[in-house]
Amino acid sequence: MSNRNRDKGKRLNELMYEKVVERYWSAGDSRVEGEPCGMVLVRCRRSFDEAIREVRARLETELGGPVETILDPGGEQAVFLPFGVPRSRTHYLALLAKQTLSAYAAGEFAVMLAEAGEQPERNPRVFEKMADLFAHLPDEPEVAFFQEERGRHGESHSVLLVDGDEEMRRYLQMRFRMKGYRVLAAEDGTQGLDLFRQEKPDVVVTDLNLTGMDGFHLLTRLQREDPDARIVVFTDNRVESSISKCFKLGVADYITRPFSPVELEARIERLLQ
């Protein structure tokens, strides 16, 4: 807890920035170059010290070594910096943190997953934005994702996901978010169509087997709304006539299950370029 006294007056983002710079620049160590820099931001409004100690212990056990920890002088937030740990693993750490925190302060905590980019050229403004965003993040038992702005327009791409299977939705939602997309999820055709109208997503990923409205009809309606809509059909249906029918209805791609998430993501990415 000595950090807290020494760093009085500094804000969380400044502390984070310092640590990262210290690690990647001051050391002058070539080994750390190109190394990923995962971050788990946590906020806990109840029994903070105890909870953070517990989370830290859990992460250290998981990683088998010490984890750089920064405590916010404000006393409610902390950041763990598992240096060199790839993003997928950091996500797991965030989930562990979430689990631990929900035992200590159910409903009064927040967890955010971030990373400082692959280049050790760290922009202090990114940290500022990250800390800001985290401070405004409502308390919720889900891991939030921080994404550096992409593209020239400073906007991330949006993907509308229409699938009746909740597990599938959650899985893809998580993966797409990690890719930095804004994800809109709909469980049936009607909801999907509504979201499409409201949000104008860049890509639609839809199943053919839906409740409420059948998949082919949804495709027709989406086409009618926007003839240029980029639609990926993602379905169990492997029948040739269905595939050709979909392409006739103007879909951009057709991916069958069982599927490779990497392939699905690559195909979506290609559509977005």
Binding site: N209, T211, G212, D214, H217, T220, D236, V239, K245
Partner: protein, 484 residues
């Protein structure tokens, strides 16, 4: 007189013993069937099958007569089944209400001139086929009134796929029902000519967007009895009969057939109730006479939810109709009886149906008269009577509970403890009146048959929304008569 009564008593005892034996045998086969089904389910992944080319395309035939209140919701639900290639053919059988118009409005249908359907089977000429390319799987046929069988025949004539499935317009299919049936079909595609589905009673369940979301037992008495009755018939009976390939009926509410065979036997019979039993008998007869290997299968996990009549008047009318249909079918096919050529069907199914189903009311009635005779002539004492009654009750109760256990083993649709207790309790209650009423209705059906009453009887329809809680509390309650 005494000798006569004694003789009757002996016959009756053998009768009761035989029927009990058959019941238990069938229940045993049901358990065997369910056991292999549970084991098989571990290995079959129907989800993946639902998109595979190897599952054959299916034409769903939906005859509709005066169904304006429920038809839209049902068609919408049918259009979103989990199956790769199928079509829904709604046959408007000259409805007197706006069934056709509500369909046209809801799906923006337009007349399709190039589709008239070829005349594979004789049926009333159709007026028009309606279609909308935006709903590529939906066809609506408009034709003058000709009855349910005639409508199904018209649907067969238009259908484009090798399998057909008949569905009542007042029933809701579960999303996976078709693919589960197709799985059974694909176990033996060369020999399967028909597959029956499991019909369950939806009264009391919550229904949203044409999907049964919360399974509950009905609150009213009549549907409650029917729920148990259906469970007993479908699970305790039909699984077993299908296990020995002796199934005599595939419910008209939900069954699947190979079209080529249905066309071979001339389609559905016209102008009389009992067409669902009739088509199966014809299929058995056709396959056996031509010495073709075949099976009539049953798929208990392909579920169709239907509305049960909830008033005495409608229920009795339905049961009288069933009685008529059964008698007519048995009378027309009496030549199958005990002919070794017809194998299990001729040697067991038909005799069982004639002796224990069709003639059941007469045995019950004479039994009652004989009982009066025994008491009047002082040939009995109350202890023996009581023992007989008790044995009889226990037999029946064990059979009923046996079906309940089967349900809980394999399907577990009713999850609440309260519902289980209620089911066990009502299974016993059914012996006090409900079974006796069944006998009475069947007898009345026979009387109607002899009077040559060929009508369908009354059937009223209620909007599905009525059961859905808190959606709107002022549902339109249908009273459209279904007289075909």
């Amino acid at each position: 007189m005494r000798a006569l009564l004694l003789g009757y008593g002996t016959v009756a005892i053998y009768y009761v013993m035989a029927v009990t034996l058959i019941y238990f045998m069938i229940l045993f086969f049901s358990y065997k069937g369910v056991y292999s089904m549970i084991k098989g389910a571990v290995y079959s992944r129907f989800q993946s099958l639902s998109g595979s080319e190897s599952a054959p395309p299916v034409s769903l035939l939906v005859p509709a007569y005066n169904e304006e209140l429920t038809i839209i919701e049902n068609v919408k639900s049918l259009l979103t089944l989990n199956y790769h290639t199928y079509e829904v053919i709604v046959i408007n059988d000259g409805s007197k209400d706006n069934t056709l118009q509500v369909l046209i409005d809801a799906f923006q249908l337009e007349p399709k001139e190039d589709e008239k359907g070829h005349q594979a089977i004789e049926c009333t000429p159709i007026r028009q086929v309606y279609y909308n390319p935006a709903y590529p799987t939906l066809y609506v046929i408009d034709k003058p009134n000709g009855g349910k069988a005639d409508s199904l025949n018209a649907g067969i004539n238009l259908s484009h796929y090798p399998l057909i499935s008949s569905i009542d317009a007042d029933s809701l299919l579960e999303k996976d029902a078709l693919i589960r049936m197709a799985r059974v079909y694909m176990e033996n595609p060369a020999e399967t000519v028909a597959i029956g589905g499991n019909v369950r009673i939806a009264n009391g369940c919550s229904i949203r967007d044409g999907v049964v979301t919360d399974v509950r037992l009905p609150k009213k008495l009549w549907p409650m009895f029917q729920t148990l009755e259906y469970m007993k018939a479908f699970l305790g009976g039909r699984i077993g009969w299908s296990h020995i390939n002796g199934l005599i009926i595939v419910s008209g509410a939900f069954g699947m057939f190979r079209k080529s065979n249905v066309v071979e036997v001339g389609g559905y019979r016209d102008g009389y109730p009992g067409e669902d039993m009739n088509i199966i008998i014809k299929l058995h007869r056709h396959m056996l006479e031509n010495k073709l290997p075949y099976r009539v299968a049953y798929c208990p996990d392909a579920v169709c939810w239907t509305q049960a009549p909830d008033t005495y008047r409608i229920l009795s009318s339905q049961r009288k109709r069933w009685g008529r249909g059964n008698l007519k079918n048995m009378w027309e096919n009496r030549d199958l009886l005990l002919r070794p050529k017809y194998k299990v069907f001729g040697m067991l199914t038909v005799p069982y149906n004639i002796i224990f189903e069709t003639l059941n009311p007469y045995f019950k009635l004479t039994g009652l008269l004989a009982l009066i005779g025994y008491v009047a002539m002082d040939m009995t004492n109350w202890k023996v009577l009581l023992v007989f009654a008790l044995i009889n009750f226990l037999n029946g109760y064990v059979l009923a509970v046996g079906s309940l256990v089967l349900e809980e083993l394999a399907f577990q649709r009713y999850t609440r403890m309260r519902d289980l207790v209620r089911m066990t309790w009502y299974s016993a209650l059914m012996f006090l009146g409900y079974y006796q009423l069944g006998v009475l209705w069947r007898l009345q059906g026979h009387i109607e048959f002899l009077r040559k009453n060929n009508t369908w009887g009354v059937m009223t329809r209620q909007s599905w929304n009525q059961d859905a809680p808190a959606v709107n509390n002022t549902p339109p309650v249908a009273t459209g008569g279904k007289i075909a």
